[in-house]
């Protein structure tokens, strides 16, 4: 079936099978390889994208569900080469090691920032917001610092 949706701000169209995950369409038809492949079962969060501005795991998103909706991937966050504030916060805080999980963490953080997080930031609240994402380099402390600084600087 053919679906039409908005992808990183542009209207696009794709031929999909009903139970294909959107992740595979984004990677194979649109070359958006910032949408990573990990556990294939909704546990690791590396395939996270925004569906109508809310974070979802694209391995669990049946592709037809994107019809008529807006999808934003990590590739759609920067503006004219300028990093999104959340990307900048991850960079400034060295919140990555191998980097494979980073796009997923950033998408989860973008959603969290849009939902009026506590400011000053609350550590437990941040942990709840990113608990759908796994980092296997064991770098959570710096990720939490990055999320925290993204919250603080969003108020300025």
């Amino acid at each position: 079936m053919r679906i039409n949706f908005e992808l990183n701000g542009k209207s696009v169209s794709a031929e999909v099978l009903p139970h294909q995950p959107l992740r595979d369409i984004l990677r194979s038809q649109f070359d958006l390889t910032g949408v990573k492949v990990g556990c294939h079962s909704g546990r690791c969060g590396v395939c996270s994208v925004l569906l109508d501005d809310r974070v979802v795991k694209s391995c669990l998103l049946m592709a037809p569900k994107a019809n008529g909706r807006s999808i934003i991937t990590i590739e759609g966050l920067s503006n004219n080469g300028e990093l999104h504030p959340v990307q900048q916060a991850f960079k400034d805080n060295f919140a990555l090691q191998c980097g494979y999980c980073t796009p997923g963490f950033i998408m989860a953080t973008v959603d969290y920032l849009s939902s009026s997080p506590s400011n000053p930031p609350l550590r437990d609240e941040i942990k709840s917001a990113i608990k759908g994402n796994v980092c296997r380099c064991t770098g959570y402390e710096k990720i939490i610092s990055a999320v925290s600084s993204a919250i603080t600087s969003s108020e300025n």
Partner: protein, 292 residues
């Protein structure tokens, strides 16, 4: 992934269209709400279907409202929309559970109707709804049925749902008197399935010293989520005391039948059920205004 070109995916915009599709396909169509369980079942080969009817674009099915003292939640309402809904905030037994279901990504797509249709005994949302005496409203083209949630889950992963029916909504009544609820769970990983989950809902008398009604329900301790009548009976009408709570929590093991599995032994789960029942009950009583 093997996919037949015959597969079709429908996104009806109103209830009658969805029910017509179910009737036309004579039971072969699979209903999709958030898709968070069905995607895994399809991928693992436990399920195959050539026709999918996605109910997430039907506005009526995403509504959350309180009408004449009855809280009404549409089947396609997501966990996230429930978490932020003012209608749901008075029911801490539900909000506790919503906060510990999986993670934000899953809660943004997963729905209450999808969970009830899936009928997994480990779902966190079911014990709180059992405590609220929820009803499930089922619709087909010909009929509307209202089934008590305690009868809806008949056995392991089996719900009282005909192939031409869909879950329309879940309803429960406002609670009279000072009330409070809580949900407590233990799982192997943060956001994981519960090893055991326990919901408690209490109603106190006007003096806030006597338990006039109490409901306790558990997840992951048998073929379906269940209430604990032994524990409830021992508490109804009793004066609030730590002693009576401790004693009643020991009775919960009489009502459950956990299995040994990867999340823990049956013996451990029985022990955990007692510990979590006590914790949930204490929290529920405190929230209702009682003191311990």
């Amino acid at each position: 992934m093997n996919s037949s070109p015959l597969q079709s995916y429908h996104l009806p915009l109103d209830l009658v269209s969805a029910l017509t599709l179910l009737a036309e396909h004579e039971g072969s169509a699979k209903i999709v709400a958030g898709g968070q369980s069905i995607m895994l079942l399809l991928r693992q080969g436990f399920l195959s279907s050539e026709t999918f009817v996605d109910i997430s674009c039907i506005p009526e099915l995403s509504e959350i409202a309180t009408i004449d003292e009855v809280v009404y939640v549409g089947a396609a309402a997501t966990y996230s929309s429930l978490e932020s809904s003012p209608e749901i905030q008075p029911y801490s037994v539900l909000t506790d559970s919503l906060h510990v279901i999986a993670d934000p990504q899953i809660r943004n797509l997963g729905t209450i109707g999808g969970a009830l249709g899936h009928a997994d005994p480990s779902l966190d949302i079911v014990p709180p709804l059992l405590c609220l005496d929820a009803n499930v409203v089922l619709k087909s083209l010909d009929e509307t049925r209202i089934v008590s949630l305690s009868n809806f889950h008949q056995e392991y992963m089996t719900a009282d749902l005909s192939k031409d029916e869909l879950i329309h909504s879940v309803t429960f009544n406002n609670l009279p008197g000072p009330h409070g609820g809580a949900y407590e769970k233990v799982s192997n990983v943060e956001g994981g399935w519960p090893t055991v989950g326990v919901a408690a809902q209490v109603v106190l008398d006007d003096t806030l010293s006597i338990i006039s009604d109490v409901k306790i329900a558990l997840a992951a301790v048998g073929d379906t989520a269940i209430r604990s009548p032994c524990m409830e009976k021992s508490l109804i009408g009793s004066v609030i005391s730590m002693d009576s709570i401790s004693k009643s929590s020991e009775l919960v093991s009489q009502d459950i039948d956990p299995l040994d599995d990867l999340s823990g032994s049956a013996e451990y789960k029985s022990h955990l059920a007692g510990v979590l029942s006590k914790r949930a009950l204490i929290k529920a009583i405190n929230r209702a205004g009682g003191s311990l």
